[in-house]
Subunit: 210 residues, 2 copies
Amino acid sequence: MFKKFKIPEATVGRLTSYSRFLKEADEKGISTVSSQQIAKATGVTPAQVRKDLAYFGEFGTRGVGYNPRELYNYIMKILGLDRRWPVIIVGAGRLGAALSMYRGFAERGFDIAGIFDVDPEKIGRKIGDIEIRPVEELAERVKEHSIKLGIVAVPAASAQEVVDIMVDAGIKGIINFAPVNVSVPEGVVLRRVDLASQLEYLTFHLGESR
Amino acid sequence: MFKKFKIPEATVGRLTSYSRFLKEADEKGISTVSSQQIAKATGVTPAQVRKDLAYFGEFGTRGVGYNPRELYNYIMKILGLDRRWPVIIVGAGRLGAALSMYRGFAERGFDIAGIFDVDPEKIGRKIGDIEIRPVEELAERVKEHSIKLGIVAVPAASAQEVVDIMVDAGIKGIINFAPVNVSVPEGVVLRRVDLASQLEYLTFHLGESR
DNA sequence: ACAAATTTGTTAATTTTTTAACAATGTCCC
DNA sequence: GGGACATTGTTAAAAAATTAACAAATTTGT
Ligand SMILES: NC(=O)c1ccc[n+]([C@@H]2O[C@H](COP(=O)([O-])OP(=O)(O)OC[C@H]3O[C@@H](n4cnc5c(N)ncnc54)[C@H](O)[C@@H]3O)[C@@H](O)[C@H]2O)c1
Ligand SMILES: NC(=O)c1ccc[n+]([C@@H]2O[C@H](COP(=O)([O-])OP(=O)(O)OC[C@H]3O[C@@H](n4cnc5c(N)ncnc54)[C@H](O)[C@@H]3O)[C@@H](O)[C@H]2O)c1
């Protein structure tokens, strides 16, 4: 599709920011934006914006700038968001429930296509209009709907076990919210989100000025 | 305190991982660990572990390794976690509620010291044993308890407004969960956590194999 | 039509981060 | 006590990412 030799990890995150700004600009009826404006709005340098885009092609016009809608569409395609993605969540606790109801996912093309848990108390209940199902049904559902994405929101002690079940079922991309390192086989993309660590980043830097 | 010339941003995140492993090792009664073992458990290279630590001092013994408890204590000190930190949360919605109840924060030294919202329906209710208070009371509470850390869990449209209130009150480190760029003055550390973007990282990489 | 002003895409330079290499130090075993 | 082995701290090399610079393309004003 696009040349994907070696894209800096951070570029992907910035593309998300750019796309959000571009969508807003388009909705305001703006017909051209410069790398300067994109940079200002997203907190990076104009050179960075152009460099990031250059990995994937030429999307602007010299002397003019970019068309927001057009560039937005390109970026969404680069990110793989020119389609909708079903996502399963394992762990219907507080975090799992919050994520299940998060409208921001749907806005970016992600549909919650299943919530699983082991707690008999929770199975059968609904979060929004999705019923919590036992983990035993996970594989069937993943296969039936060719689901590729999963979110792990179970306690740390169960995270690896859940990841293994997901991988066996055919999940190819996983976000793990449990504060523990889990391993996945080649070909499965894993991302850990450690919220306590985010706070620690702050305290580390506050410490600098002591 | 420590020399802090220029520490890679990623180092801070890795220190969190190391510390978690070291705590476990210590609790198992293990008396020495090597950079090799730390690396294996946290998914990095041994050289990386030693380099990360070298920014801050010498914590091991050549030919031997590190004492888990000792190194754990050092790292916690480096991260600024040799004390407890009160944290306020603004936005008592689904995410704010989940975060308020998250035991993982307390385990790392963070205490939820206030939850604020504007919704009259929510003010006065309790999450766990903390009462949701109106945002108007934020400044008073922050000043009274010298609170330095805040979490923003309000809709994107209100994020900047809330950040401004926090900064005015004296908050020095902020985590923003709203999918929007907000700005803070010099001297305030800001971190954005964009969960949709995490999923997009996955779809981007899944796209590679198409 | 042409000069001045913009703004991109791309290449080069710089900076930052990671990885590798190895001398210094310590343990273990005979 | 000495040689084989292990493991750190540190320096050097390599790789990756960011920033800067500038030629090419476009628009605007005269
Ligand atoms: N609550 C937060 O704000 C928050 C923030 C960051 C990280 N986390 C992490 O996310 C995870 C979930 O946190 P939480 O607060 O929602 O916890 P929780 O205890 O409220 O929910 C965990 C859920 O997982 C289910 N579960 C346990 N083992 C399971 C298994 N093997 N298969 C399927 N489901 C299983 C439990 O029944 C429960 O419903 C934890 O690892 C936590 O550290 C939570
Ligand atoms: N729910 C999730 O899992 C999730 C995940 C990632 C990011 N987010 C982001 O976190 C934020 C909160 O999400 P949510 O799902 O909890 O939304 P929510 O609507 O459930 O809660 C938002 C809360 O903020 C309060 N609020 C609004 N304006 C305020 C103001 N000016 N001052 C104080 N409080 C105010 C509202 O009264 C409400 O209680 C959003 O920006 C969302 O995009 C949510």
